[in-house]
Symmetry: none
Subunit: 207 residues, 4 copies
DNA sequence: CATGAATGAGGGTTCATTCAT
DNA sequence: TATGAATGAACCCTCATTCAT
């Protein structure tokens, strides 16, 4: 269950969910602006719409907030990725669709992805590995979508790597925006990367 | 000239160079361990082998240390990349060599690259763009090496993107090590990525 | 309203008043002893009876404390001066009473006056002029008392100057105590200065 | 002998005099600008035209600089006051001249006088009393000039007080300039104060 | 004598966290 | 449950003073 890692002294589960949603929303806004370290707990409380005392009723340390935020980002990505994957039946054309949708998703979540890249290291070892686990699940989802879309089998390693490449190409669009978004529109970027991906698969030969 | 952005109250240029090298070395060690924000200036001074007072003879703010460290990392990458590029004459085989060497370089500098990804955001706007400029130069170097190694011309955008892809695939080896280095040895990783890269090139060639 | 220049992160106005009173009392004691610059914020907090963290809940900078202290001194002087002035109806004899009371007041507030002379310069330009404004008001009060006590009109400049002279003669009793208080008792001092003042007035009358 | 309170590790007396003159000049400039506490020893050294190391060859602590500056101010005042006093023979008219010249002197040395008022408290007890002794000498000089100028004897206390009054009226012209110099020209101020002073004398005469 | 690099105690200020109300 | 005042460890940075060259 989501959030079960973070202890709260409040009993009402429904309330916990509500308050944490406020909290995540507020903290996310601030983290995007100034990063985790430069954001104070007071600011988080204020942005979330309650007092510092209340904040600490729902978390135990500032790091908990970061965990909740990272976890929430992953949750969001996963949720939307699932929709994408499930909407597309297994077929080569649909691989293109999946990847395209994924890139669009990454475009929309640029800043969230950035936070993951920059702040996960501030989590404690245990919490960090919980987050990295989510990352792995994401890669696995992409892998599955690719496998399902391929006409014939490919070595597992090839697929793993391809999924990884595509994933970070999606991330790259965001965290290297100062470089890429000057030279490409999103559509151009997607098209080129698809071309590269397909040529790797040798699918293009056929085409 | 390197480091000319950071003011020092010491006049002896030679000494400045020496002390800053100590400083960068010390700070780098600590940043790898605990990140910029969790490292204190006193720790940096101690790790560098001098007192807090002396540290501040060579910089003005803690951020200056981060700048010097980032700048130094880029300097190191550039220096070593230049050697690699110059050693290889233009030819398709040598493109392989260049990329291979680049991946090896990224493997050796994993932790430094991580710092760039995670801490550059802590620099002030001004300083940050100075660092991003270095990043751009690096990409350009890779682009040139690729162009030089290709038998026939490719659209500029293709090369730019290819260079970017290869660059972050190099970075990814480090910052997604928890994922990749469990499934691939460095050599396997390089070989697969080369395969992908070459297939991308071949397709384009034909086209 | 008093103190409205200094921001506090505490909301309870009553509490702010209470804590600031503690603070002003504590700081005043220390400033008398060692001056503003030689007093640390930690010492102020301790002397005020709370922690350094709490101190900073009620001010933003150390300079704020100085402002509050100076402002409070002026407030005290003004309050007591008003009582004096109002107690005496307009008449020449009562001018003597007013001046006498003023000198007594200055005797009692010697050390506070010294602080004004020595530390106001440490205030920022803005804040300093707010304090000097209070100084002006004080002079004006004296002027009015004098004017009201005079049987016939005098040139405005004469009154202004006389008021100034009396005011600094009151201050002088404190900040030149090492000189004056060896040669005069307070009563002697007052009597002599009154004599001088009245002779100045008589002369002008005749003229 | 001047300066004999402050130890120097340099032997050459001539050099000591020269360096200290540079030092006093430099420090005075800075103290006028920002006060003693806000001025650093490094700044003093720089403004004086030599290194921080050299500065410490001629003094032992920062406080020594303040002492030298205060002492030098008193020396300057005394020197110029002596000229004034000696130039005027004993006579009531000349009393006017002496006072007028004194006010002019205070006008020219406004900022130096301010430093005395504000910074003497930062001297150690011993040093401070040495400076206050100078202050007393100054008052005595004025007293003598007054006594010499009077046609017939006055009680000592009256003269002491009159001298003190005139002295601080001179000071006041400087440190209450924000008040007085808006309402009076120097000449007006002098004339009014003379008028007051003479009326005081006449009254006493009669008595 | 002159220099300026080195030192580190100490200062002002912040902020995560607690707890009485 | 919610509040926000209170706490104090810890941070960044300064600057008077020393001492080797």
């Amino acid at each position: 269950m989501k959030d079960n890692k973070v202890l709260s002294s409040v009993k009402d589960e429904e309330l916990i969910r509500k308050r944490r949603d406020q909290m995540i929303k507020g903290a996310l806004t601030l983290f995007k602006e100034k990063g985790f370290h430069r954001t104070t707990t007071r600011e988080i409380a204020k942005e979330s719409g309650f007092s510092i005392g209340t904040l600490y009723e729902y978390i135990r340390t500032k790091e908990d907030v970061l965990y909740l935020v990272c976890d929430s980002i992953h949750g969001e990505v996963k949720k939307r990725l699932e929709v994408v994957v499930e909407r597309n039946q297994a077929s080569t054309e649909n691989l293109g669709n999946v990847i395209t949708s994924f890139f669009h998703l990454m475009d929309e979540m640029q800043e969230e992805i950035l936070i993951l890249y920059q702040e996960v290291k501030s989590l404690s070892k245990e919490t960090r590995s919980a987050i990295l686990q989510k990352e792995r699940e994401m890669a696995t989802m992409l892998e599955k979508a690719i496998t399902a879309s391929l006409p014939n089998a490919l070595p597992k390693q090839d697929i793993t790597l391809l999924a990884n490449n595509i994933m970070i190409q999606g991330h790259m669009w965001g965290f290297r925006r100062w470089m890429l978004q000057k030279e490409f529109t999103l559509e151009q970027y997607i098209q080129k990367q698809l071309q590269f991906a397909f040529s790797a698969l040798r699918i293009n030969k056929v085409k």
